[in-house]
């Protein structure tokens, strides 16, 4: 007879823990259309993450994919000939994630995370 309430309590505790854990977990996220302010913040954050260098990032970043793939920009020889890779290699990847109400930018190779001011991101 005592066992039943104990089971209920432990179940409740477990469920609450799970909920709590879930609330702290981040999930892949996207940006809606017309989120230019959010994009501007992402452009700035990525630039800071890469030592302040400007990084061309598409206007629709994170609108179709939660991952932003960066590659080394084409190099140009002194003679003016541009060089582009013939062979694909692993990209430097940033992912947009949502944790609770927060939007987070995560660099996947280093697992560094940046909390964004924007709250516009939506779960993928």
């Amino acid at each position: 007879m005592v066992i039943k309430p104990l089971i209920l309590i432990s179940l409740t505790v477990s469920l609450l823990s799970a909920c709590s854990l879930r609330a702290n977990e981040s999930v892949a996220a996207l940006l809606p259309e017309n989120s230019s302010a959010a994009r501007a913040e992402i452009v700035e954050t990525v630039s800071k993450a890469l030592g302040g260098k400007k990084v061309p990032i598409a206007q629709d970043v994170f609108q179709e994919s939660s991952k932003l793939l960066l590659a080394s920009a084409p190099v140009t020889s002194p003679a003016g000939v541009k060089v582009i890779s013939k062979q694909a290699k692993q990209a430097l990847v940033f992912e947009l994630r949502k944790q609770g109400d927060n939007c987070i930018l995560k660099r996947l190779d280093t697992e560094q995370e940046w909390l964004l001011k924007t709250k516009l991101c939506i779960e993928k």
Binding site: K53, V75, S85, A88, Q90
Partner: protein, 567 residues
Amino acid sequence: MSFIFKNKQSLLSLSVALGITLLSGCGGSSGSNDTTFTPPTNNNGDNEPTWVQDQFQPSSDFVAQCETPRTGSSPITNIAYPDKEGSELLEKHWQRAFNHETYLWYKEVVDKDPKNYGLEEYFAQLKTTALTDSGTPKDQFHWMQPTSEVEEQTQLGVTYGYGISFDYQSSTAPRSWQVKNVTPDTQAFTAGVSRGSKLLEVDGIDFVNTTNQSELDSLNSAMFSRNEGESHTFKFVDINNEEYEVTLQTAAISGVPLQLAKTIDTPQGKVGYLLLNSFNNATVEKDLFEQFNQFSNDQITDLVVDLRYNGGGFLAISSQLAYMVAGRDTTRNKVYETIVYNDKIANQVIPFVDTTIDLRRLIGGDSIIQENQPLPTLDLPRVYVLTTGSSCSASESFINSLIGVGVEVIQIGDTTCGKPYGFVSQDNCGSTYFTVQFKGENHLGFGDYADGLVPAKLPEAGKQYQVQGCPIQEDYQEALGDEQEVLLSSALYYLANNSCPEVSPKANLAQASSAVNMTTPTSMQINVEGKSDAGPALNTRTPLQDAIINDVYFDKFHHIYSKQGEQ
């Protein structure tokens, strides 16, 4: 195909492996003299190396021994710099050893004492002085630059600019820049900037005639701005001689690799046409897969592949395209391209890729297409390819690979840029080194087209770089994809008549500039009239300078020249 790769993912693995193999090879440095040689030191007892002609130590003996060592980590890779205290002489000995190990033509380099040269000066002379058949230097791609400049990143397929591609016909006053193409879904596209228009003014400055230095600086700043949202006003005159003005903001422009595709009904049957501007995009695999399924459903009997502005990109995508054109029977057990190194490094074989590989997922992104699906094929014995001097690298590999397996390629347009070479760039002590390390050959072992693949009505025997076709200059008079457009219409004419059309006078208008482009240096600045060395002005390039050489990794980047791409 299993003799080449166990599976398609191996192609990506190869990409990485190529670099690892090559760099391992560098450290190992085969060759009897190299491995048995004991490094001599000078009489000062300071462990500075002494040069002995034609005797080489492994580059690993000198690597990261720097006159000015870096500290900390790269902000891009987060990897700690390996630099330790050394000297400029040690850096030059590293250059010498590295070049001797990896340079494709290392046997043609005259070995000289590093002590007699500066750092850049020494590396600059570590190359062949041989000339091509046309008299141009065989090696035009040998240089070094600061690693900090070449580490910049970009979203794949995205560049700063306005979405306008120019033909830089004249770089001295009176200047002539003509619009070749406008990227869809850009401000320029929406504002109606049209193909064939010539640039007259920028922010009220006479673009054509100014020789004023401050105005040239302003032009430079406007044309190559990297500041998003910066507005500039451009005045053009279109092909109907009507002037118009647009105000555009600098933006991050997403390229459109597959810009046009359609099926054309002709008396000879249905003809597929596609305008493919780049292989350097992880999404184009899906676009091509869907388009070739469409072509297959349409039961096209001929295909025109428009690569006139395609500077190259991933070989895997180019290989898939070639496979979809040629089909299984033609490509079975045959090589798409062999990467040929110097005699110290084993060659690498690239197969015809016959299934989807989901390239975007392979490089770290979300899946865009289910992998391992058989690619649709057209099984064509003949294909028409439209080219200009901007058709480079993987575009040239596409043509050469198909020729190598017996597909008849009819090349319509201008000579391609001629870059069958490549390299794995390498950092040492904060400088990144570029030295030609390999060339690509087709199934028949041909890859010597340093002067480009040349369309010829009657190719000469033994000159494999001459490709059956029609040498015709594009004229920007018609829209891309228009059946009256000079290159496409010439392909359709050839298809109907098995011969080249007579070139109309208007088609010759662009010839002078392009002819010059093929023989002038590939880089120049807009300067005071006729004085190419008259100090800095507006950076520009000719159409040839859209050329993109074959590169294994594009790790490196020089932002100044990046401004010369799509505007």
